[in-house]
Amino acid sequence: MSGTAKPMTGNDPILEIRDVDKAFGGVQALDRIGFALEKASITGLIGPNGAGKTTLFNVITGILAPDAGDIRFAGQSIENLEVHQRVALGIARTFQNVELFESMTALENILVGLYTRTRAGMIQSMLRLPRTRQEEARARDQAMELLNFVGLRDYAGRKSGDLPFGWQRMLEVARAMAAQPRLLLLDEPAAGLNMSETGHLGELIKEIRSQGITILLVEHDMSLTMSISDLIVVLDQGRKIAEGPPRAVQEDEAVMAAYLGKKANPTND
């Protein structure tokens, strides 16, 4: 499932965000945001509700066009690429409000996730040549593997909309992984998971990183974010107010005031 073939240099940024602006009417959702993600790292993106985190995800994935600024992926500007092209390049995501294809089974959801990594078009599907069949069989194997990876193997045939909320989130992670991303954007993956499930998710995310995939994580559960992130970026009202390793950010006055609150020491419970 590994996305990167090149050797990891460690300091070569996979994603660079430069001076990105986005406003909705009077609300300045993103205000000259800029930071970079290192390959195979986990970056936690935190900030109060309405800080602009999801908006930034939408801008990176191409769902929203930024008012200004530039986004470079693997050294290349992706400004003019459409949403699906960015996925093909290797940017996959999950959604804060869970956007599964509800009438489809868990397995089918993953298979759709494999869309950019398979080829068969309409004509090939009609003809169903041996090559198409092989591709289909391979896709199914991969999809089952991914379901197994997030622990949903036994629910492959269940309609995704009927799954409990937490499992839906895991399914979304698996679906995003199916795109064989180089960069994975996770929008509050732990919301709705209980603590033990959250812990499991943390392990999963680390394992994904170990495959060389870069992760940008939005998560309000500090026990998770602080414990697995290599770097934390903090937004508030569209502005970046802090950036640094978890320890430093936790002690940052501005961050405490805007986001963490007084008894912010969640890592040691």
Partner: protein, 246 residues
């Protein structure tokens, strides 16, 4: 205040709640915890009338609510903050709040509504700032605050909260837990479904632990916090092989 006996809930052929009994006393905060898919949301849906396909007994203030539809239940004094928020996206934040008080308006309690509007916006100042904005454009957390505020607008006596902290910043979670305690001190009874069991149990009086549609454990919040199994399954990092259990 609320008494549930041998409740079984169905989604066509699937039985999602398998004979649950619980009770809530006036002025209590009750916490329901449990893994994903354990049936907590389903139980709340049955209580507030959204789910009609159940058997057993649900009594609110000694009266059965069987066959009642949500509007009647809201009028009886139960409000729900649902999973997924269910706000009215194209309507303004302000209108969402006013509609929360729909039953109050129907009781001609305009002055009370005015008061409540003030007090919920006091509780969540961001809502005041965003009054005129279509609710659908709020950020996730802002929407969650709106959903809670809207439920309060009906002046319920029993408030059902389905994962109110989901997606909220730590500060806001704290705030909401505070609010919950505050509301209780004003005489509100609360049923709280939470994944953040640690925090939830801290503000609760008693708790029930759900697993695959049944109550497997119940007790004082403090006892549960100390319970080894609960700790292992819902609080600690030792998540073991949860998925086999689920």
């Amino acid at each position: 205040m609320l008494r549930i006996r041998n409740l079984k809930c169905f989604y066509s052929r699937i039985m999602a709640v398998k004979g649950v009994s619980l009770s809530v006393n006036p002025g209590e905060i009750i916490c329901l915890i449990g893994a994903n898919g354990a049936g907590k949301t389903t139980l709340l849906s049955a209580v507030c009338g959204l789910l009609a396909d159940w058997s057993g007994q649900i009594d609110f203030e000694k009266k059965s609510i069987k066959g009642l539809e949500p509007p009647a239940i809201v009028r009886a004094g139960i409000s729900l903050v649902p999973e997924g928020r269910q706000i009215f996206a194209p309507l303004s934040v302000f209108d969402n709040l006013r509609l929360g008080a729909y039953t109050m308006y129907k009781k001609k309690a305009h002055a009370a509504v005015q008061q409540d509007l003030e007090s919920v916006m006091e509780l969540f100042p961001i809502l005041r700032q965003r009054q005129r904005q279509p609710a659908g454009t709020l950020s996730g957390g802002e929407q969650q605050m709106l959903a809670i505020a809207r439920a309060l607008m009906a002046r319920p006596r029993l408030l059902l909260l389905d994962e109110p902290s989901m997606g909220l910043a730590p500060m806001v979670v704290e705030k909401i837990l505070e609010v919950i305690s505050l509301l209780r001190s004003r005489g509100l009874t609360i049923v709280l479904v939470e994944q953040n069991a640690l925090a939830a149990l801290e503000v609760s009086d008693r708790g029930y632990v759900f697993e695959t549609g049944a109550v497997v454990l119940q007790g004082e919040a403090g006892e549960l916090l100390a319970d080894k199994d609960v700790k292992r399954a819902y609080l600690g990092k030792d998540y073991g092989d949860f998925y086999d259990a689920g």
